[in-house]
Amino acid sequence: MNISLDPWIWISALLTVSIFSFLYRDNPFYRFAEHIFVGVANGWAVTFYWHNILVPSLFDPLFRRGQLLLIIPFIIGILYLTRFIPRVSWLVRIPIGITMGYYVGASIPADVQAYIIKQTQGTILTSQNFQAWNAGNMGVVWSIILFVGVICTLSYFYFSKEHKGVLGITSRIGIIFVMIGFGAAFGYTVMARISLLIGRLQFLLGDWLGVIH
């Protein structure tokens, strides 16, 4: 045993134990740690937004270097605060509309590229895709199974027709693929999460209590 004498290790360790205590039930230690967590996170956000955004991107260039163009985002940003003034509170829609518009617009081509175009390319049956498996002749079989799985899963999401007849069969096969996939993804993640737990335990037992190492 050689217990740590570093006050910060003690603070980290006590907070860690407090969070773990939530597994038993909600208790004052957890509540304490949770509220510290949120308080510090917001203090950190204030610091970050001030030092990394507002000062270097707005106040310095606007007031010290006279980049007057920055008055526009400054004023539009202030419009957020009109929410507290009932008569002009509709102005808050301006910064919201701008932000939403830009991000929503930007998502359109990005989504089509990532989810439709790229995925189509990977699913089509061609000799090039067969070879990508590096599995010899079995590559053909894997590609065909993948192809069938994709089409059947897609058919499960066909909403405007009852799932009967052919659509009933394909959507059912689709669900089989979905369930196998979900089970696999769940099982695959367990190892990573246990590793995280081991990391925390190594911190508590090693860095803090000095029982292991």
């Binding site: 949120v38 808050v92 590229q113 439709i116 027709k161």
Partner: protein, 362 residues
């Protein structure tokens, strides 16, 4: 003369066929240089790239390893002429190639390789919009049942009977995540039900902008059902923009306020299971929905109902029952048929011919 003799002895040949051209489909300021390998490539240190404005004085602009035949000089002035030489480098020995033809870099207005994406956007977007406007004419549309949606009414009713609140989280997405917006639409409908039955709503947020929008949405819902007075401005609030601090706080709310129903609908990361399991331990009915595939297995295992992927989007249209919004679902379905057809047609072409079909989808 002596130098030439020395090189002849050691035998380092320069690269040949140096060609320079404006980098296509870019914003300018860049020139591509290509060459044929030096015959002695195997023993080289690499290639140095030299550039000149006048074809007279050359300066070094870059270096690249051996067995490479291409270099992008991304530091050029648009509209100026440049000459390039490529140098085979071996220790301190340098063999210069012939100079390239003069070349100028320039910006382009259109990124041609992305044309296929633009076309796809137009096809699918056009289809959806066609059906949206078609739906205006009041044609009845059939939509299959979505399990999670049927449960919403019961879930709100249950909370009312028990006199307990409803918790609704839009997850850890920002306003730019479309799933968040779909979730806000569903929130609006659920807020209406809460207003009608006088059920308390708890709606904590991670993103300040999403919080601002959500507050407007909920307030509007209360107004629409004629209960603006019942809207509690503190029912919609911001917690923190840090993922796990948010998860810790929402878990705390779940065990302390003991909501009868938890809605976990929107964009989620690893906190999905933290929230879903904590919620399950309090005995709440849980309805989840996300388009984030990696998180779906956890919602499926820990929640009572889960809106899977596109069901989330369909739900946001379906729950409002507005024909305009429903029309989009029909358009999406047609989009699926097109994707299926493209996959099959692409495969047939790919299997029967030697056409480079995959290049269409780069």
């Amino acid at each position: 003369m002596a130098v030439i003799l020395l090189i002849g002895l050691i035998g380092v040949a320069p690269p040949t066929h140096v060609r320079a051209y404006d980098t296509p489909d870019d914003g300018g300021g860049s020139i591509m240089v290509e060459w044929h390998l030096s015959q002695d490539d195997a023993i080289l240190d690499g290639y140095e790239i030299y550039r000149s404005n006048d074809g007279d004085v050359y300066e070094k602009v870059g270096f690249i390893g051996r067995n490479r035949t291409r270099y992008e000089d991304s530091n050029t002035e648009d509209g100026e002429n440049y000459f390039y030489k490529v140098v085979a480098l071996k220790d301190t020995l340098k063999m210069y190639s012939q100079a390239s033809q003069p070349v100028m870099s320039s910006p382009q207005w259109f990124d041609l390789p992305k044309l296929n994406i633009l076309i796809a956007c137009v096809i699918f977007g056009g289809l959806i919009l066609y059906f949206v406007y078609h739906a205006r004419k009041g044609k009845e549309l059939y939509i299959r049942k979505i399990a999670g949606l049927q449960a919403i009414d019961d879930a709100v009713g249950r909370a009312t009977e028990m006199g307990k609140p409803i918790l609704y989280t839009t997850g850890t997405g920002l306003i730019g995540d479309i799933a968040t917006i779909a979730s806000l639409n569903i929130l609006g409908e659920i807020a209406k039900k809460c207003a009608r039955y006088d059920t308390q709503l708890i709606n904590p947020h991670l993103d300040p902008i999403v919080y601002t929008v959500a507050r407007e949405v909920v307030k509007e819902s209360y107004t629409q059902v004629g209960r603006p007075d019942a809207f509690d401005p503190d029912s919609v609030y911001f917690i923190t923009d840090l993922q796990f601090a948010y998860a810790a706080a929402v878990s705390g709310i779940m065990v302390r306020e003991k909501p009868a129903t938890n809605f976990l609908i929107g964009w989620f990361m690893a906190e999905s299971l933290i929230l879903a399991e904590t919620g399950a331990s309090t005995g709440a009915i849980q309805i989840a929905g996300t388009d984030r595939v990696p998180q779906l297995p956890f919602f499926i295992t820990a929640c009572d109902y889960t809106l899977i992927g596109e069901e989330l989007y369909a739900a946001s249209a379906y729950i409002s029952k507005e024909p305009l919004l429903l029309g989009a679902i029909k358009g999406e379905d047609l989009g699926k048929l097109i994707i299926g057809a493209a996959l099959i047609a692409g495969s047939i072409i790919g299997l029967l011919t030697k056409l480079p079909i995959l290049n269409l989808f780069k």
